[in-house]
Symmetry: C2
Subunit: 340 residues, 2 copies
């Protein structure tokens, strides 16, 4: 038999379509006895609601969107994305809400997708990754009046909700640690300069220079690719007064940097300490293993997902959630600099 509809159930149970709808949705309007009978029939006929039909009446699509504007290949390279996706998954699953994923090539396409998906009522809300400084997406999404949860922050001048981790604090911890070990020349291989968290981390470093009376602290922006990580590392290690420690903004770059150090005969950690922002299998599997700032990325994403669901249920809400601060996990790649 074809897919049963509530009309079929109604007929079989000898009631009206309306009664079936009430019964199946647990709302008043039918007696306990009738409800049980209807539920039994529905179960017997193996009925499932038709999502589209449901979405037509009320406005819920039962899905939220995640749109990434990155070259598609980085998805496979950065463990970060996988963790985010599975974390969101976990948070959404509790509600039966699905995750719709889209990878686009440029910011224009990303914006177009927000507009289209909202207009088509394809999703009930969005998750936004990597907030930028003066992010143009914020205003656009506010105008669309669609629930949005930003992974990152804290955000000002916007009504969008967000959950953030204090990576300023984490970066503090990292720099303090390196300074305590005796490092005075530190290079920061940063991420994209337009990213909010890049700026926050870089700011901490600048400020740390004064505080710890470091001889040198430089932040060098990159596109997060392993190749740029390698190039920068090679350049920095070729200098006469090369740094004794490098902080990388991603594990992929840190591993690439480690490779360059080995290739150049620079011993890690004796001649060079390496510290990675972002932990993953990658950081653990290298030799020496990488000291890293680690955090529960999946848990963070799951929390964001739950926040978004609350937001969808009540759009007047404004969720401002702070998740746990990344923690420094010392491994083999950091040590006091030579002669200390």
């Amino acid at each position: 038999m074809a897919r049963p509809t509530i009309a079929d159930i109604a007929e079989r149970a000898g009631v009206s379509k309306g009664a079936v709808s009430f019964a199946l949705n647990g709302r008043p309007g039918v007696s306990e006895e009738t409800r049980r009978r209807i539920l039994a029939v529905a179960d017997e006929m193996n009925w499932r609601p038709h999502r589209a039909a449901r979405s037509l009446g009320n406005a819920r699509a039962g899905a939220v969107g995640l749109i990434l504007s990155r070259p598609a290949r980085t998805l496979g390279l950065e463990p970060f994305f996988g963790q985010i996706v599975s974390g969101l998954q976990a948070g959404l699953a509790e509600d039966g809400t699905a995750l719709q994923l889209l990878v686009v090539e440029d910011p224009e396409a990303e914006m177009a997708a927000y507009r289209n998906w909202t207009a088509e009522r394809r999703v009930d809300g969005f998750v936004l990754l990597d907030p930028l400084i003066d992010d143009p997406r914020f205003a656009a999404l506010e105008a669309l009046e669609v629930p949005v949860m930003v992974l990152g922050g804290p955000l000002e001048d916007t009504s969008l909700s967000f959950t953030w981790a204090d990576d300023s604090e984490a970066m503090h911890e990292a720099v303090d640690y390196l300074a305590a070990l005796g490092h005075r020349h530190v290079v920061h291989v940063a991420g994209m300069p337009q990213f909010l968290h890049t700026k926050r981390r870089t700011d901490v470093l600048t400020e740390a220079k004064e505080r710890h009376e470091l001889a040198e602290v430089v932040s060098i922006p990159t596109d997060y690719s392993d190749s740029e990580g390698a190039v920068i590392t090679r350049r920095v290690l070729s200098r006469r007064d090369r740094p004794t420690a490098i902080v990388y903004d991603s594990d992929v770059m840190a591993v690439a940097g480690l490779g360059v150090a080995l290739e150049m005969g620079v011993r890690v950690p004796q001649d060079l300490s390496i510290l990675s922002f972002d932990d993953s299998l990658l950081a653990r599997l290298t030799h020496p293993s990488l000291t890293a700032l680690t955090r529960d990325t999946q848990g963070w994403a799951a929390e964001a997902a739950r926040g978004l669901l609350r937001l969808i249920a009540d759009p007047t809400l404004a969720v401002r959630h702070q998740s746990s601060t990344p923690v420094l996990v010392p491994r083999e790649s950091t040590a006091p600099p030579a002669g200390h």
Copy 2:
């Protein structure tokens, strides 16, 4: 103004809803002039079709499902998944079809999700990963009469479509290469034994033993985790007559194995050659870099996505597509065994 509907457009353009529908879908029934006028009005009002409403009429949901039953954390660990997801993305995007992702903990939940999503008409089809030997999902999905594209194969005794890469051939190439280098003791750290491709690779090895008169060829099944990869490697390298080459079924395990070798003072490639099935950043970034069987995973997934779209358009089809065979990329981790 609220979301415009075709009724609004009809009113504004002074025609009926039906005419608007014809015009917007490019079907006959309206004159060129009227069509242009209607399109202009629709554009002006910034109209977008309401997905749910459309799905109600015809049966297309405009999305396909990918359901993974793996512990959620592996998503973040295996670069493979990211590549598959972004590849599918690319293939689907051409059509505006979305990808709905679900990560579940066990096969029962996976089966339930297939049933629910089909019954709810949430998706138009599914992509299936990692076919098993005598896979119970095949029969269930055939019964659901829903378009399915399996990534892997070749499949027999099923009407499901699939695209496969000949990893038997690839494994041949790998073994021939190792044999040519002079290796006689080869260990294969395999994946899950119930996976079809694990069996195919293992079979090739068994057969290769005769052909190349190898002294030893063992396949050891694992769960693909880095920890099992490390444990097995440690055990194998501790033996008196340890192998001179190890083939790993995933890059994650290969990197873990490399770590163990270094930790045990076994020099790679002088004392031990390492070859990884599956290439990725991981394999390239290690030192020494890993010789690997590489393939265009994203392209493969994109091709599968396109096949699935064809299948959805015409469910009587049976797509049997073979994608390019993985290619051996020699890097630093393989060399003739000592004393050769």
